[in-house]
Subunit: 194 residues, 2 copies
């Protein structure tokens, strides 16, 4: 998605530890015009599959997941990182793995909002090691829902999440794929698309 | 907003401690069609004021804030509950007060996304004691931005947030105001509107 690449090159910055900062339009500040264009592109890429529900992870995936749900006219569900006073006891749960030294956590979705036989699209802003996405897949598995696809705005191909998800046979659509980033020069190199 | 009242009466449930569970359409699962109608109503109510930016709190306010930002065509900014590796050191900060026995916390907004002289609309899903909203106001104050209004989907009038914000002179527009809820019978009583 050329427009998105341009925004990343213009506004993104490379930080130590493989961190890409794109908080001017994607997760801290949200540009709703770009978000609509991102949602349109996801709808185009997944137009051949049935989608009953969008599932995302609290909290940086919410805006993009909502934008996609809005265009498809289906409900969106937010997996929560910890039990909330507002949530039923009746919930699917999954553990989120983490990088060494970081705490693991539990994510939950009420059983009322993710059911057996449903066709779900998983959506998130950034794919790095894929720990969040693995947890969303576990939640869908626990519910007996089928994952029709995974939509990612920015995939960092130098981390292993994308590779692993494709190897597991998931249909992963990343609107931009970053092959490498250079902390020293700030250079960002994208994967060539056909 | 009659449509919203009906959804609350049909799908909401009253839990101990003054908790209203509306997670089938507002915060755990999101109904994008209702969300668009909510956003339209906010736009109608605030059509006489200049709004440069929407500010909300991570994470249950994100969907409604995004929906409003999208209709107004302005950026939306999410105040984060803790410093993130993706956030600049240059941030406005505010403390969030809490109910007795609950931990307080810090919220932050990058200085790049909330600036002096800007006109902001604060948006959130539910107003109870108003601690989150007070923190958003502090962030706007720290930035030198002016709060043009506060948009709330559901105000719980039996908690003090709404009363306090109106006393402070803020223009608070709540799409529904709940006067009382009965834990035993599950009855929800709305404030009469003119």
């Amino acid at each position: 998605m050329e427009l998105l690449k341009q925004r990343i090159l213009t506004e993104g910055s490379v930080r130590p530890g493989g961190v890409l900062k794109v908080d001017s339009f994607l997760n801290h500040q949200i540009d709703p015009i770009l978000m609509d264009q991102i949602a349109e592109e996801f709808c185009r890429r997944f137009r051949d599959v049935r989608i009953d529900r969008i599932l995302t992870m609290e909290s940086s995936g919410i805006s993009v997941a909502y934008a996609v749900a809005r265009q498809l006219g289906v409900p969106m569900v937010v997996a929560r990182k910890r039990p909330s006073v507002n949530l039923d006891g009746e919930a699917h749960t999954a553990e989120v793995a983490s990088a060494p030294g970081e705490p693991t956590g539990t994510v939950i979705v009420s059983k009322k909002y993710l059911s057996e036989g449903e066709h779900v699209l998983l959506v998130d802003d950034i794919l790095a090691n894929g720990f969040s996405m693995q947890a969303l897949i576990s939640l869908a598995d626990a519910a007996g829902a089928s994952v029709e696809g995974i939509g990612i705005v920015i995939e960092k191909a130098f981390q292993e999440g994308g590779h692993r998800l494709r190897n597991l046979g998931f249909r992963l659509e990343s609107l931009t794929v970053i092959e490498s980033m250079d902390e020293t020069t700030g250079q960002i190199r994208f994967r060539n698309e056909n």
